[in-house]
């Protein structure tokens, strides 16, 4: 099978959907000729023109709001938000307007839009261009949240997001844009709410999202090679909706779990998933559910400091070893 980059996969997904459905347009900053700073949308303007690949001024709340209104009136907009950190600029339009429109109108109005943005630190971009804010949005009822972990996932989840009748926020890991993976030529979609079991195992379950999936995979390889520990790796793919059953089934089998996510650890995705495991698989647990998130600090610029803030395979390996040995009953 051919291999393409995550960037190319996203580009293909949007182009294919735009050919299928003329109501789709993309709006954002420097997305047409510039093709975005990461060049993810390069070439789309050549095929679809500036009527459908719309360069907007640097007015994130403005074009987010425009997308909501367009979505309510027969269009299917894709909003390109250059950095996930800019979500704080669009919160009213996304969370008070888009997320609530369907509910507040008693099901009469819909806002079928996609907000594509990114997450991920270690690009040496400092505190306002490095955050992973998906957990924050997952707190708001009415938004679906997709977290692709490879080029294959990015294409299939993007196509599903575009066809969904709800506001969907899709976070790409900005450090993975050039990572290649096998992606079929023929069309496929990845349904929301169906987790992917990337590796089967029997001693411990590693639940990892987005950028942390490759961290968990690497950790599982090390655990198998160096410690004889068999780790199962699960990528939920979407945190709203969340495939609770796949996670619970795995934990009931292994009796141990670590949840790994690049959002800040406190009050975030790791807390939510760990809590659901505790609530629904408590009597199957042989050790307390562990959480590994990003450090609760603004992302620092200095590489030496920044690298300390994100989970690494080594951190996961160490925690998994202690978990399996039964060393974690009182403190992590």
């Amino acid at each position: 099978m051919r291999e393409i980059t995550l960037s190319k996969a996203v580009n293909e997904a949007i182009a294919e959907e735009m050919r299928r459905d003329p109501t789709i347009f993309v709006i954002g900053e420097d997305i047409a000729e510039a093709g975005t700073p990461f060049k993810v949308l390069s070439g789309l303007v050549t095929e679809f023109g500036t009527e459908r690949i719309i360069d907007a001024p640097i007015s994130e709340p403005g074009f987010m709001g425009i997308a909501v209104g367009a979505a309510m009136t027969g269009s299917r907009p894709i909003v390109d938000l250059m950095f996930g950190d800019f979500l704080f600029l669009v919160m009213d339009q996304l969370c008070n307007q888009a997320a609530k429109t369907h509910y507040m109108s008693g099901g009469k109005l819909k806002a079928p839009l996609v907000l594509r943005t990114n997450l991920g630190a270690t690009r040496r971009s400092a505190a306002q261009h490095s955050q992973s804010l998906h957990g924050l949005l997952a707190h708001i009822p009415g938004l679906k949240i997709a977290l692709p972990s490879s080029a294959y996932e990015a294409k299939g989840l993007m196509k599903t997001a575009i066809r969904d009748d709800n506001p969907v926020v899709i976070f790409e890991d900005k450090l993975m844009y050039n990572d290649k993976a096998p992606v079929p030529e023929e069309e496929y979609l990845i349904p929301f709410g169906v987790a992917n079991i990337l590796r089967k195992g029997s001693d411990i379950t590693l639940i990892a999202t987005s950028s942390m999936v490759q961290v968990a995979q690497k950790a599982a390889e090390i655990l198998a090679a160096e410690s004889g520990i068999s780790a199962e790796v699960i990528d939920p793919r979407t945190i709203v909706p969340l495939d609770e059953e796949t996670i619970l089934t795995s934990v009931r089998k292994t009796g141990r779990a670590i949840v790994i996510d690049e959002g800040h650890q406190s009050f975030g995705v790791t807390a939510e998933i760990a809590s659901r495991i505790n609530e629904k698989a408590f009597y199957h647990l042989d050790a307390p559910v562990q959480r590994i998130g990003a450090m609760d600090v603004p992302v620092p610029f200095s590489p030496v400091l920044e690298d300390l803030t994100v989970p690494t395979p080594q951190i996961v390996v160490e925690r998994a070893r202690r978990c399996v040995k039964g060393e974690l009953f009182y403190a992590a």
Binding site: T23, G69, P77, D92, N96, Y103, S105
Partner: protein
Amino acid sequence: MSPANTTNSEDYLRMYRQMVRIRVFEDHANQLYLSAKMPGLTHMCSGQEAAEVGVCEALEASDKITSTHRGHGHCLAKGAEFKEMFCELLGKAEGYCRGKGGSMHIADQANGNLGANAIVGGSAGIATGAALSAKRLGTKDVTVCFFGDGALGQGLLYEVMNMAALWKLPVIYACENNLYGEYSKVEEMAAGPLTARAAAFGIETHVVDGQDVLAVNRLARDLVERARNGEGPFFIQLDTYRYYGHHVGDINREYYRSKEEETFWKTKRDPIANFGKWLIDEKIAADDELKAVDKAVRADAEAAVAYALAAPYPDAAEVRLHVFADNAA
């Protein structure tokens, strides 16, 4: 009063009736609040009827509006019915939003009302997006974005007016300047002329007497037609007045505006009384005909209130419905 050249007697009487409907609706909403029959609170638009009706009477059913927390008048003027509106105000299942929106979120999609909005200025993006949709999809619909002078403090409005002007969108920004944003005078909160804000983007602006339904309607017809032909966007400042306080509970308001001022607007500038007088003077309607309209509307409202009070609340199972639209991805 200045006659509108494109309207006939039937149009005049419909405008009169629509204004009376809004006034009567708000009187009943106030009574429901004062008698503790309505949950929460509401923001009444009495006094602003000419602005709402004058603009909406220039629109087709498929044209869109976005509205505000003071939105009952926009909703009625765009074609909504008493029964579903009172049901919504009371949180009943037969309300326009099945009781889930309430006074501040009434939406009536069938009549092109994309919804009231409880965030001041919050619908400016939605209105502009609806206009972008119309332009892209070639529907020829025009969108009117209603907002009050208080929304002039919101940055979103300036971002979307800029884009509407750049992209020549069929949207009309209708600023109902009722002189007060919540409990503050407009001149204490907005520097410079209100229209200068839109003019800075090269948007054609107009100021109109928002108490003169014919003047508002004549201007709105002209601008709607031109917006439909690709000449938009436009900005209208509708000078008007709200008779009640910011909301139903804002009773003692002399610290921010005088009783004399309120009395002046209610007695000298009332849009319904003045229009009624004009209709009689111009021999378009007789006094008893107008009284019959008032009476019929009051009877409709009383019946609708009685219906809504007796109507069932939503089933408890509805609380989890409509968080997401059905097409499960």
